[in-house]
Symmetry: D2
Subunit: 341 residues, 4 copies
Amino acid sequence: MIYFDSDYMTGAHPRVMERLVATNGLHTKGYGRDEFTARARRLILDACGLGQGEVYLLEGGTQTNAVVIDRLLDHNDGVIAADTAHINVHEAGAIESNGHKILALPGHDGKLKAEDIQQYLRDFYNDDTNHYMVKPAMVYISFPTELGTVYTHEELKAIREVCDEYDMPLYADGARLAYGLAAGGTDVTLRELATMCDVFYIGGTKCGALLGEAVVTRRPELLRRFVSLIKVHGATLAKGRVLGVQFETLFTDGLYEQIGRHAVEMALRLKAGFISKGHKLYIDSPTNQQFFVLPNDKIDSLRRVASFELWGPRGEHETPVRFVTDWATSPEDIDKLIDAL
Amino acid sequence: MIYFDSDYMTGAHPRVMERLVATNGLHTKGYGRDEFTARARRLILDACGLGQGEVYLLEGGTQTNAVVIDRLLDHNDGVIAADTAHINVHEAGAIESNGHKILALPGHDGKLKAEDIQQYLRDFYNDDTNHYMVKPAMVYISFPTELGTVYTHEELKAIREVCDEYDMPLYADGARLAYGLAAGGTDVTLRELATMCDVFYIGGTKCGALLGEAVVTRRPELLRRFVSLIKVHGATLAKGRVLGVQFETLFTDGLYEQIGRHAVEMALRLKAGFISKGHKLYIDSPTNQQFFVLPNDKIDSLRRVASFELWGPRGEHETPVRFVTDWATSPEDIDKLIDAL
Amino acid sequence: MIYFDSDYMTGAHPRVMERLVATNGLHTKGYGRDEFTARARRLILDACGLGQGEVYLLEGGTQTNAVVIDRLLDHNDGVIAADTAHINVHEAGAIESNGHKILALPGHDGKLKAEDIQQYLRDFYNDDTNHYMVKPAMVYISFPTELGTVYTHEELKAIREVCDEYDMPLYADGARLAYGLAAGGTDVTLRELATMCDVFYIGGTKCGALLGEAVVTRRPELLRRFVSLIKVHGATLAKGRVLGVQFETLFTDGLYEQIGRHAVEMALRLKAGFISKGHKLYIDSPTNQQFFVLPNDKIDSLRRVASFELWGPRGEHETPVRFVTDWATSPEDIDKLIDAL
Amino acid sequence: MIYFDSDYMTGAHPRVMERLVATNGLHTKGYGRDEFTARARRLILDACGLGQGEVYLLEGGTQTNAVVIDRLLDHNDGVIAADTAHINVHEAGAIESNGHKILALPGHDGKLKAEDIQQYLRDFYNDDTNHYMVKPAMVYISFPTELGTVYTHEELKAIREVCDEYDMPLYADGARLAYGLAAGGTDVTLRELATMCDVFYIGGTKCGALLGEAVVTRRPELLRRFVSLIKVHGATLAKGRVLGVQFETLFTDGLYEQIGRHAVEMALRLKAGFISKGHKLYIDSPTNQQFFVLPNDKIDSLRRVASFELWGPRGEHETPVRFVTDWATSPEDIDKLIDAL
């Protein structure tokens, strides 16, 4: 069996595991006050080109989105997001469970368009009854998106300008950031993302770690008393070093970029294979998630050799499917899959 | 100045006020344990043709929706509603503030279509990842809708059947129920609504009372420990009699129906007047809210003699507007308005 | 039967009812944007001696406490209150339902002592682990307290100083404020309360209105976007005029003070009667709530002529009881009660 | 430097790390649907002697308490706990942030007494106003307690009986369960705990794992739709195997018991040493947490060779301190510490 279900089906990248083992016996302070976490913070700020920022290490993506958004929004503020946004679809209502409405705008291949946000805000502020409506108070984007697409520098800049005009923080969900940065078709670098967004997170879980996401902000004042709020959300790891050691390793000798590049390379090889076999794309993704529309019988036969996800409910004759690569995907895996097509 | 902004611009219907004055000095128990509330409950159950049901008197509509929905939904359950639903637009995120997501479906003149709900549920239950999605666990409709439209018996029956198929409670927001029941184009009676819905409320505030909404259910077990939950939401009136006396009066000698009929009659007279003057409808409403699209200059001139609301942001040349009638609207008011057109 | 259960067993003071009737037919804007509410605001600010403050009219006490405290506290902040505080005992957990912990300190006849607060804060700030503890961020007092007692100017000043030292807002629950201001044994005036507290509310429901509480602050910036937050909590009255008209009347020609003085006079007459009959006080209250400890058989016989509340669970031989007076209590009522003792 | 701050200052027990490394490359399903988690579940149920129960693996203690309590309580229910309970002191208000009040009773060396619970419930149900009070709906105990003490079989049985009488679930926080089970002075076994409690959790983080807590229940119906609720709370680990592998290892060849026994042995050696040097106990703990009262100068000198926590604010002359042992503590560490006394 070859595995393409997702990018969290193995453990951590071997170098991460080695480092966890090597440091296992050392004594450190708990709750993220250890030296590994301190070093990870510095390495991440350097990689982001931030002198003054702050970094917080959390455990998982849904949790990270919930805590950050809960911090950035006041009572009865809402967050603007694409209708396909992870927070709007696959987080079981975690944002609403903290009392915040998601103001969903139609996505364009998973992306928000600056003019849609602009229009929504203009209508809101022109509405005399808006004090009884949920105030749009921040923008959530995912980079890359849930559909594997990425924003260009221009697209991101346009959204940033709308956020500036209405004084709203821009937050990017980087669960799969490594793959977004390695993607063709984007000219957005980590440093640009770090300056364009007010807050964003660098995904670890889906990018080579056992678990962990690194929240980064160039405006620490936005994450007021964040250590306490993380605790309130039950998102504090007593052995915070487990996160510190992993991110320290991921941001040493370019491991994070390397993981991203490898997975994207494998993904493009996979895409080329499907196209060569005459299969149609469900969406054209430049990252480690690839989406095709396959005939149901083809899906059934393929499932004997490979595991992958249906993307939504099964259709009558054909169904969208998703194949995901990661650090553990080998060229041989891809070739075996293509042969089985 | 003639007033058409809404149906809450005067006090209560004179008969309601008279009764409040007549009973003012009597001593009763507090918190709705008084005899007026007890009588109001019986009168309402009789009017609904319910032998076994339960009635709770609350203060306002947003509050009532919040408490009822909070009771009917489990953690991370969501409520299906039209995108134009009051809970989705003009309640400042009160539903989300209690932790529940609104699953908004495209409205059809403010109404939900049974087949849309059906499709949404089919897709949800066919999705392998739905344990990480918000479970659609109840349906919210408004009767009449925020656009003044009403469901037919057939439409309501179809929604009821979907709710039965998926074992979901159906809840109707009756903030303007009196006008919905008096509307032409519907064959839905109060008794039918009471049996079709699991829970609904009879609007008082917008239908002749100073304040107050009566939550009615034929399935008391659905509103478990409701008295405590109302208190948690700060929705308990110490002098509950104020609600009891009003609803007792509204449901004596057919006052509630009479208020509905009068306002609808005035509204239709108003609509006829606008049409006769060649103005176009924004939507064709059979109830006490009438919507037109007027040229901006006409709006400006009309505002010198009458007050009314723009329906959404002001357009470049023309803008949708809303005129609302109630118990206090007189034929003379209408005629003055039409003359001024 | 003579009624002493509480101060919400009749309707409104006759002058309030007359005014509601007189203004019933007039058209006004909704949601508190009417001229009655505007006048009530001005009258209240004048009575409080506040030039710059703000006033908001809400419906009930539990609701008012929930909205104000929800506004004054940040995520995972807590409110310091006496263990006997209404918010800690008889509001069904409304404060916690909004996510805030009540930090209960032992009450002294229902009152907080400045030194207890001081000590609690000193311990908190000396604790290295306090970022994982709930931060005490405001102080709640009731004036008068749930046990009918009142703070002296000195006591209040001492609490104010602790609040200043730790930069915490001081909030007073004035559900029965009229009686607290009319009480002997206090030298606290409305103007002093208004300057000593950052926010407080003037009780209407229990002081002669049908319903309504007036939130007053000399620091409007503390109640940021309060109109929206009130709506989120479902605490907005569409016919806000109902509150405006009542408070306008209560603060015209000294009616509010008059209601307080009358009820306290009746309460003292009642207390004197009980003492003359050799009954012992449960607590010595100078306000409209009087507490005694009565033998159970006496309670049973007395209940044939008068209604009143047991204060807590019934004891084996004797039980604390509460008698409450209000605007509607007459000297004859008191004398009948005493005769029946 | 020798480390006694807490039991989360190193990584995982070497056997746990070895197993994580050995399984790192294998592909498994995500979100706890992997075979390691399945095996861990079975091993835990066997160790608990439960045929029918259910096990859920979460990340940390505060999170676990928050999710379980949120599931067991209905709106405006409260949880009875000792005033020293972790949920009441050191979880930053996480329980309240989910809307639930903690009903704190005075602890006895950190333990609840059955008769105190009994009395609280009797008073609650005898109070006519209890529908406006928070309903005590479950009991939280910690085993061992935050003060290192343990319940005897008799004490636990008495609490169980009160819970049965009032039909309330009993939940035990087992963050340090390994040490409680290894403690002298208790006759409570894992199997007894599993049958006495409705729900409890087996602590991993503080008992030899990198992270992870195992929620166990013999009544799966109590944790309705728990997988979704865990997600709502952001407590779902994508690479659930990380938890599965660790608990599988901890419950293979008695590793969990072995870790508990070793740490307790070290703790008793430490206690004996302190006593032999004439220092007084702050509390007499039979588990891996030891509490003494030391002169401040002694604390200062000791801190040059060992790290440990002050237990609460520093006193004027002496201060309570805590020393904690775990799998990594060696006899040599203890002896060095005692020599330094």
